[in-house]
């Protein structure tokens, strides 16, 4: 059985949507999500030789996306601008992101703090276990569990209000 050769092109064809969704869940606007998407795949070019399996590729992409998003928020300018911006600006680009009225739950998730958004997205959409999320985010499993619990509580309140 010949081993499939993993190239940057094949990775982007296979995981473009996954990275894009994760970037959208972490960024508060379309432009930043696009920039994050490009940065992750450009970084992949210099590391694709080190990735041995598709599982490895997926884990690498999620970890790099999270790290790039953290770096984005750590920058002084983005930290200040993002706090002032409202999540509604996510709907500026109608071509790639539907209006908030059509995705009320997603709009509610976007209103969560970034660390809660991340665990909700990884756990419910990417179907990762608590242990995997803890490994990828560099946190303890109990921390992840408590974040999940708080995220659920906040979402309940948000959705109840929205609906």
């Amino acid at each position: 059985m010949t081993k499939e050769r993993i190239t940057a092109e094949s990775v982007i064809d296979r995981y473009a949507d996954m990275v894009y969704r994760l970037a959208l869940s972490q960024m508060k606007n379309q432009t930043d999500a696009d920039d994050l998407f490009q940065e992750v795949f450009v970084r992949l070019v210099s590391h694709v030789q080190e990735l041995e399996s598709w599982e490895h590729v997926k884990a690498w992409l999620i970890r790099v996306t999270i790290n790039c998003a953290k770096k984005h928020y750590e920058q002084y300018w983005n930290r200040n601008v993002d706090y002032m911006e409202e999540p509604e600006r996510l709907s500026d680009n109608a071509q790639s992101y539907e209006i908030e009225e059509e995705h009320p739950v997603r709009a509610a998730v976007q209103k969560l703090p970034p660390k809660y958004r991340l665990v909700v997205h990884l756990y419910y959409f990417e179907q990762l276990s608590v242990r995997e999320i803890a490994t990828l985010t560099g946190q303890g499993e109990s921390t992840v569990k408590s974040q999940m619990h708080r995220a659920r509580e906040m979402l309940k309140n948000l959705v109840r209000d929205e609906l």
Partner: protein, 278 residues
């Protein structure tokens, strides 16, 4: 609720134009990486070649430098050794006596002071020749020794003159420096060592002790220009005189002349001796 979240999220897809732009950026990055890698490889090759050459030459260069240093140090040590041996030759009684003998035989009309300088210069030249002969082959050395041992006056004069011409500056300074040593050496030498007086008709010899005739009853004590002379007339007609000047003892001999004439000539010589030396 979260199932609805999954449904809503799954409807989101990466825009095609974003994927296309990202692919172009990835290709550009790939080309840049390849270019950088080839440049790095070329740099490594250049550096490796240069360093390899440097390492290849480092050991021979170090060895050559060490050899040069050793040779220069040994040369310096050799020259120091030769200088010390030359000084030893100058201080040895035999060489001084030889040079004085040659001078007394061949150049008896030369003033004593300059004769001494010449003898010192000659000795210096001889020692230089000896140093040069050390480096000569055996046959040349023998030829040089034969030439050196030849007692002819002309060869001595030629040697002295050529040495003076060639090593004038060095020899003159060296002779001046060594003159006092040579004079002391003459004092410490055997009593038979004689000097040319530079005065016609008499011979003056510097001696260590007063000759026996001073104690003889036939010896006259003559004071000539405040210099006390012990004068003895020999049966052969030779006149011997003895005088002490500046703590030096001189034996003066003369033939076929009157006592007063001898004393005048001896006094003229002693006056020269009493003058402050250069």
């Amino acid at each position: 609720m979260l199932e609805r979240y999954n449904k809503e999220t799954s409807q989101i897809h990466a825009p095609a134009d974003l994927i296309q732009r990202t692919k172009e950026a990835m290709r550009a990055e790939e080309a840049r990486l390849q270019q950088a890698a080839s440049a790095n490889a070329a740099d490594r090759a250049v550096q490796g070649g240069y360093m390899g050459k440097a390492r290849r030459w480092a050991l021979p260069l170090t060895a050559a430098a060490a050899v040069v240093i050793l040779v220069s140090v040994s040369t310096v040590m050799q020259s120091v050794k030769n200088d010390s041996s030359m000084a030893g030759d100058m201080a040895s009684p035999e060489s001084g006596a030889d040079s004085d003998m040659l001078l007394s035989e061949g150049e008896s009309d030369m003033p004593l002071q300059f004769a001494n300088e010449d003898s010192v210069a000659e000795a210096a030249v001889e020692s230089n020749e000896a140093v040069a002969q050390d480096a000569m082959p055996e046959e040349e050395k023998k030829a040089g020794m034969e030439k050196y041992e030849a007692p002819a006056e002309e060869s001595v004069e030629e040697e002295t003159e050529s040495a003076e011409a060639e090593n004038f500056a060095e020899t003159e300074n060296f002779a001046e420096d060594k003159f006092a040593e040579a004079s002391d050496h003459v004092e410490a030498g055997p009593a038979e060592a004689s000097k040319s007086t530079g005065v016609v008709g008499i011979a003056v010899t510097e001696v260590d002790e007063a000759p026996a005739f001073c104690d003889s009853a036939d010896t006259e004590q003559v004071t000539f220009h405040n210099v006390l002379f012990y004068v003895s007339q020999e049966d052969s007609g030779e006149i011997c005189a003895y005088a002490e000047v500046n703590d030096k003892r001189y034996l003066i001999t003369g033939e076929s002349m009157e006592q007063e004439e001898l004393l005048e000539k001896a006094y003229a010589f002693l006056v020269k001796e009493m003058k402050p030396q250069r």
